[in-house]
Amino acid sequence: MNAKKVTSYVIRLILWTLVIAFFFWAISENMFGKIFEEPGKFMELLGRHLELVSISAGLAILTSVPLGILITRPSFRRSEWLIVNIANLGQTIPSLAVLALAMGFLGIGLKAAIVALYIYSLLPILQNTIAGLDSVRPEMKDAAKGMGLTPAQVLFKIELPAAASSIIAGIRTAVVLNIGTAALAYLIGGGGLGVWIFTGIQLFDNQTLISGAVPVTLLAVLVDLLFRGIEYLLVPKGIRLARKSAMESV
């Protein structure tokens, strides 16, 4: 336990040192110069990147959470494996192939990129929604039903609060992945910060590459933190404390 702690501490220290060293190097070599030379262009690419992510992830949340709720209802139980398998299939296809497929149907441009990112975000959210709802102890639902809660009240008062942390974790994973994957949108004319990343690669231009890649990474880190904050706010206190005390007693 203690050795594990020390190891993880050391690894973290090394990582942070590398990150700080990288930024020192990048700044001293004026690697972010592109951002300051073309601030208008940067804002445009960043805006497009955010647009790609928020629309595709937003639609994925609006699809996967209700779908996960629906197929965990008793009357749909039997179709659960089918839907999960279909969604799993979607995830095993590489993101590039999803992009190519979307392009095949919708041509190049923003629309195809959003559809591809949307499909790619569905599964983590769906899986975590189902896992979260399945983890609610059956006796709990039974007690609630037996006391006269309607099915909707059982869902909103008991199941969703218990599943909240799993669902939000799924959304967080999906959005963070989505931010990285959105860089590929450039390949089918979707725009975003991928434009600088791929241009930089093609032209061996480190400055352009890094001016695109570092903001994408920072965005992913920021969004990760944002969702951890949301999780803290939305997960009921009792469940948070119970989990904490369960972890401490291990």
Partner: protein
């Protein structure tokens, strides 16, 4: 009053979990559904609040067929406690306890008063527990809250499925005693599932002993112990059933039966026994004491006579084996 009329439950077309049960539970009666695992106790209980459908026959509460009632309304008006308490981890103890009153739209003040009353009833300090969460409570405390929650809207009928089954023996006995004291005060009509003969004998006004979905005997505990209907019943209650039945009689019953009068010449070197003591305890006291007799004293401390093995045996023949 809960009436079961020719009630049958068939699962999945061929598993007959309940087989043509008819019985009546009177108002204020505490009835134990007893029997080995898989005999249908839970199924029978859950048909009452319609968590399981009734395949044949019908169940009536206060003369009304449960099938025709609004399920949600009926469940809110029926207490339900299960073994693993089912407290909701996302809610405080107060919110857990007041969930049904909340659904019924009680106002804040009324809910708070009710919470305070119920916590006092189950022996927990309301202010200490109000804002705490279930995981912070011990098993026994959680189960007390589970009982309080089931009584929150003061339902006339309570359904309890092995509510104390998960507690360790010492705590269980304590919670059982507390619950009996509560029942004395509130006088609910209770259906209580148990697989433990000792619990059934301790708690029940009557016991329905089930086997393979059929009622083998529906009787007062003493009758079940003393006059079992068939071999299954006598096997289930155990070889020590006569000794067990002794816990249902007090020294006072014996005093009344034999009409023992006040006694002046108290033998001072023997131990005293109060007339409230059960005969089961009296027997073990005689065994432990290695004394031939105990002096029976009434509630005023007045000696009533001496208690001996012979006297108990005489009582046993008359009350238990006889008739």
């Amino acid at each position: 009053m809960i009436e079961f009329n020719d009630v049958t439950k068939i699962y999945g077309g061929d598993v007959k979990a309940i087989d043509d049960i008819s019985m009546t539970v009177e108002d204020g009666e505490f009835v134990i559904l007893l029997g080995p695992s898989g005999c249908g106790k839970t199924t029978l209980l859950r048909m009452v609040n319609q968590l399981e459908s009734i395949s044949q026959g019908d169940i009536k509460i206060q003369g009304q067929n449960v099938r025709e009632m609004d399920k949600i309304k009926m469940r809110r008006n029926t207490g339900y406690v299960i073994q693993s308490n089912g407290l909701f981890p996302n809610m405080t103890i107060e919110d857990n306890t007041m969930i049904v009153p909340d659904l019924l739209g009680w106002d804040r003040k009324k809910k708070k008063d009710r919470f305070n009353y119920l916590m006092d009833l189950v022996g927990l300090n309301p202010d200490d527990y109000r804002k705490r969460f279930p995981h912070e409570l011990s098993g026994g405390q959680q189960q007390r809250v589970g009982v309080a929650r089931a009584m929150a809207a003061d339902p006339p009928v309570m359904l309890m499925d092995e509510p104390f089954g998960a507690l360790d023996p010492i705590i269980r006995e304590k919670v059982q005693d507390e619950f009996l004291a509560i029942q004395k005060e509130v006088k609910k009509t209770i259906l209580f599932v148990s697989h433990d003969i000792d619990e059934a004998v301790r708690m029940g006004d009557k016991i329905a002993l089930l086997r393979d979905g059929k009622v083998q005997q529906f009787d007062r505990p003493s009758e079940l112990l003393i006059r079992p209907n068939n071999d299954f019943v006598s096997d289930f209650v155990g070889k020590d059933r006569v000794l067990r039945s002794m816990s249902l009689y007090s020294v006072e019953d014996l005093v009344t039966t034999f009409g023992l009068k006040n006694k002046e010449d108290t033998i001072t070197d023997t131990k005293e026994i109060s007339i409230d003591t059960s005969l089961r305890i009296a027997i073990s006291m005689l065994l432990n004491q290695e004394a031939d007799q105990l002096v029976i004293v009434d509630r005023q401390g007045q000696a009533k006579g001496s208690l001996t093995f012979d006297l108990i045996e005489k009582f046993l023949h008359q009350e238990v084996k006889g008739a």
